[in-house]
Amino acid sequence: MNGVPDVPVHRPSDRAANRLPEGQVNRLRYAFYPGCTAHASARDYTRSTYATFRALGIELEEVPGWSCCGSTAVSNVDPLLGMALSARNLALAESTGLDLAVTCNACYANLAPTLEAYREERRVRDRLQRVLDAVDRHLEAEREVKHGVHILTHDLGLDQVEERVRRPLDGVKAVPYYGCLLSRPRNPYEDPENPTSLDELLASLGAEVLPFERKTKCCGGSFMNTKEEVALRLTFEILEEARERGAHLIVCACAMCQLNLDAYRGKLRARYGTYHDTPVLYFTQAVGLALGLGCRDLAIGQSFVPADRLLGLR
């Protein structure tokens, strides 16, 4: 393939392999919180994140000793424990002296609001400090938590992304799916009702970005396990709108959203009689493709609905 940079295969345990080559200017560097799905159902997300960020000159350093952030489940059982888990991970991330990058919306929606509450709500801060003291950790709360999307659109800048595009997504009609937690409950870079960063990012890759009313609607999250019928309805509505609008591609920014939208097509057909063949890529895969990275580096063949055929990449 032409113009494809040589990106080594990423192994999460091998941190040195993610460092930039000698001599390359090191402009952006973050601590990276991969989240528990990183080595499992969203292995493809992690792999494409490392490949794409590296190709953009962004260095990621895995947070040493990170644990589960609790997702939405732990807060439902025990709100204080949910925040305590996030606070400990934030303290670990802070020890690297870097801002924290997160790519899973569910992790982001635990870490960022905990940091915010820690800064702004005295009572929360007191409680969390008592808990952290017990494990000899300290949280200064002077570093930021950022979602990978905003690192590309704001820290790096859309012009920088555009400059590095080698294989624009010309002729690809894409809809951005933000899910619940990228813009809510609060995100400094987004309007909670109508976020636009993913739209802009996709446009900078050369894709035709379609309006998408359900871009922030819920995909059902863990209800896929506990109330499958409800989750299938929510997923169906999202896929159906994408189909009606003629999208070739859905681009998301969350490990759980991708799985819900990608992996249940058979069940949806059985229930609603419509088969949706629109592939769902992570934003890191879409960006990586436009940068000229190969499907292997971006782990594109690992989704349930194949995207490589549609994009004419093989």
């Binding site: 080595h39 493809d44 888990l85 937690l181």
Partner: protein
Amino acid sequence: MAVAESTLSGPKTREVLPEETRSRFFPAQVEDISGQSIWACMQCGTCTGSCQLAQEMDHTPRRIMEMVRTGLREQVLTSRAIWYCASCHSCTVRCPRGIQVTRVMITLKSLALRAGHVSPRDDAPAFYESFLRVLRLFGRMHEPTLVTAYALRTRPTRVLGMMPMALGLMRRGRMAPLPDRAPGLAELRRLMAAVERVRDSESAGAREVGIRVEQAPRARGEEVMAR
């Protein structure tokens, strides 16, 4: 349910409901844990109008807010509505009074679990508790252990229904056969114990001022794991 129905007509019912059906301290307890001023709610119904799951609920979010203020503790904690909140925060960003309704809902779910008041028809509590147990074991989530633990707690035959998904993930290299243990697991367990201690000391304080407090019923074997 006559009592619950009467909450539809708003604040006036608080005066006509017999004292013994209401918990005077419930509103304060919810405010304390959630950090939200539920008395700021003006019952406009924007939360209900924004909720994608409201049609599945037995009481809408607006009504839950009013039921909390009325002190209808048992009805709120045994309602199915709270388990249909997906934590999508749509209500939170639209509330004209700035109440983080999602945090109120999370509080209600945790109180229901602590009081052992969970509707047996809902599987969500079992899922959340299974999640917490796997977290205690490994410090990181392991999806196969989670869904197996959850199936065993709810409907063991579920495991069969999950096989196609498991195989699909495995075929695509998206399943980790073995759990990934977080380094510093002992520290993590100390952290969990510290959370319990903070809560216990606050419960003791709350008892002194008359707030009724429930202790979490510990799952079997959990103490052992927590060590």
